[in-house]
């Protein structure tokens, strides 16, 4: 084999993909050829450095929120198509209670209000669903609640970190918007406590909560790494 031919085999030689027959002659040539020898070392260096690259890189925190929101919409669409009241009751109702607790955490005013009124923030669904407090329903609520609390907390952390990047007027507007949303959530929640079987109220509450998450997410995205 000529030098030119062997140069084209160096990649396979380094990665161990040469046939047994070819390996010997190529190795012999490399031992005697400075150019090929240098190229082999260089190739090995690149591959070693590639092997050293991180295999895992932390994705943006809001990625899961976006994925989850699509998945939730998928599930809603499926539930709507199937028209099963049981499916309908479990998830949206759990969603409602989770929204309430999220509102409590995100708004000091809201928390103060609830505390002063002595209103229980525990899920209404645990007692007043009318379809019985089944373990499955309660579990669904707990999962939803924890997820939304976590998601809102993550977003709040992001926004807190980024507050310095925003103009004071914009921060004020944003906080005012979040207060507006929290007040709406609180009002709807109070109504839900009086009328826990109100399907539309649950949907509206869910929608308002989604708007809050969307606003927080959009703000975090706009101020992060433009």
């Amino acid at each position: 084999m000529t030098h030119e031919v062997i140069r084209h085999l160096l990649d396979d030689y380094v990665t161990g993909e040469l046939t047994e027959d070819a390996r010997g002659p190529v190795a012999d040539h490399i031992a005697a050829c400075e150019i090929c020898s240098a190229e082999v070392e260089s190739l090995k260096g690149i591959l070693a450095r590639a092997a050293d690259l991180p295999r895992s890189i932390e994705p943006p925190a809001e990625a899961w929120l976006n994925i989850r929101s699509v998945i939730e919409r998928d599930k809603e669409a499926v539930a709507a198509d199937h028209g099963t009241s049981e499916n309908f009751w479990r998830r949206p109702y759990a969603l409602a209670a989770a929204v309430v607790l999220a509102a409590v955490l995100s708004s000091g005013g809201t928390a103060l209000y609830l505390n002063s009124r002595g209103t229980d923030s525990s899920p209404v669904i645990a007692t007043n669903t009318g379809n019985g407090s089944t373990p499955a329903t309660f579990v669904a609520f707990t999962i939803e609640e924890n997820n939304y609390l976590r998601n809102v907390a993550v977003l709040q952390d992001l926004l807190d970190q980024q507050e310095a990047l925003l103009a004071p007027e914009t921060v004020a507007q944003l906080k005012a918007s979040l207060r507006t949303i929290d007040e709406a959530i609180l009002e709807a929640r109070s109504a839900l406590a009086r009328d826990p079987a109100n399907k539309m109220l649950i949907e509206m509450l869910s929608g308002t909560y989604r708007q809050k998450m969307d606003l927080m997410r959009r703000t975090a995205e706009m101020t992060r790494g433009s």
Partner: protein
């Protein structure tokens, strides 16, 4: 996410510094009142395919974009003294951005850009205003507190603001507009439109709509347009005032529910009935035999249905 992860859009790399630059809203006001500052002129031109992609970032000042029939991107403008302008890319994709010499006191940059009409355009600012006309490709426009003005018929339009207004005059088949406190004004028609605000008003005045979703928390909603009989229309608000005006002989099926508000029906003789437990109101009716599905839901916002003049 529009079925994909279009969400999560942020720029990487060397623009990390830009995220800290120029996002000082007061600079816009300061610019108007400050003495004349030394400025640097910019004039550049690069080839870009007719359906290429272009990204523009300019945090403070203004960005005016015109679509034209050439496979070239041309930019003219002025920067603050010491600021830098970067533009580069290939025939399928290019980008331009302004880098402030002083992150803490960014000077406004005014850019006027000519782009191939069918470009896929992505623009991000903090307080700079965005004005786009004559672009037929796709538009993704993001401001924090600047305004967004779009004229023309982009194939797709996504406009997002935190506290800026959004004005659209045209007929993008697909449009999404969001602002928290800004007003959204749409004059045109669309097959798939969604508008969302918290306290900002939404005003839609236009042609034929097929699929429309408008939601606010406290912002008022004014809708006047023609409903495609196979369309779906959703209006949701917590406490905003909803006013829906439709032409005579509109074939639609209405479902209007308000938990604690009121419903005024000037479209037909159907009367709303009291809601659950005597609070609020509900109205279900068909006009001209039914057709488009219209759903209106409010917590306590009043709803008025009327004929257009």
């Amino acid at each position: 996410m529009e079925a994909d992860a279009r969400a999560a859009r942020d720029c990487a790399r060397g623009w990390a510094t830009l995220s800290r630059a120029c996002i000082i809203g007061a600079a816009t006001i300061a610019f108007a009142s400050s003495p004349v500052i030394a400025q640097k002129k910019v004039e550049r031109k690069i080839p870009l395919g007719m359906e290429g992609a272009l990204r523009i970032v300019n945090m403070v000042g203004s960005i005016v974009v015109h679509g034209w029939g050439k496979d070239t991107v041309m930019v003219r403008g002025t920067l603050g003294a010491g600021d830098n302008f970067y533009m580069g890319g290939g025939y399928t994709g290019a980008k331009m951005f302004v880098e402030a010499v002083n992150d803490r006191d960014p000077k406004p940059a005014r850019l006027e850009v000519w782009v191939p009409a069918r470009v896929r355009l992505w623009v991000k600012t903090a307080t700079a205003n965005i004005d786009v006309s004559g672009v037929e490709g796709g538009l993704d426009l993001y401001v924090v507190s600047g305004t967004i003005d779009v004229t023309g018929n982009p194939h797709e339009l996504n406009a997002e603001a935190i506290d800026g207004d959004i004005h659209i005059a045209g007929s993008p088949p697909w449009v999404r507009a969001k602002s928290a406190t800004g007003t959204i004004v749409f004059k045109g028609a669309s097959s798939d439109a969604a508008f969302s605000t918290v306290s900002g008003a939404v005003k839609v005045d236009g042609g034929v709509f097929e699929r429309t979703k408008i939601e606010t928390v406290t912002g008022n909603i004014n809708f006047s347009g023609r409903l495609d009989r196979s369309g779906t229309f959703d209006f949701d608000t917590h406490s905003g005032i909803i006013d829906i005006a439709i032409p005579d002989k509109t074939a639609a099926s209405f479902s209007v529910v308000t938990i604690a508000g009121g419903i005024t029906n000037n479209v037909s003789n159907n009367s709303p009935i009291p809601g659950r437990f005597g609070r609020g109101a509900e109205l279900t009716m068909d006009t001209s035999g039914g057709g488009a599905k219209v759903s209106v839901r409010t917590f306590k916002g009043p709803v008025t249905l009327r004929r257009t003049n």
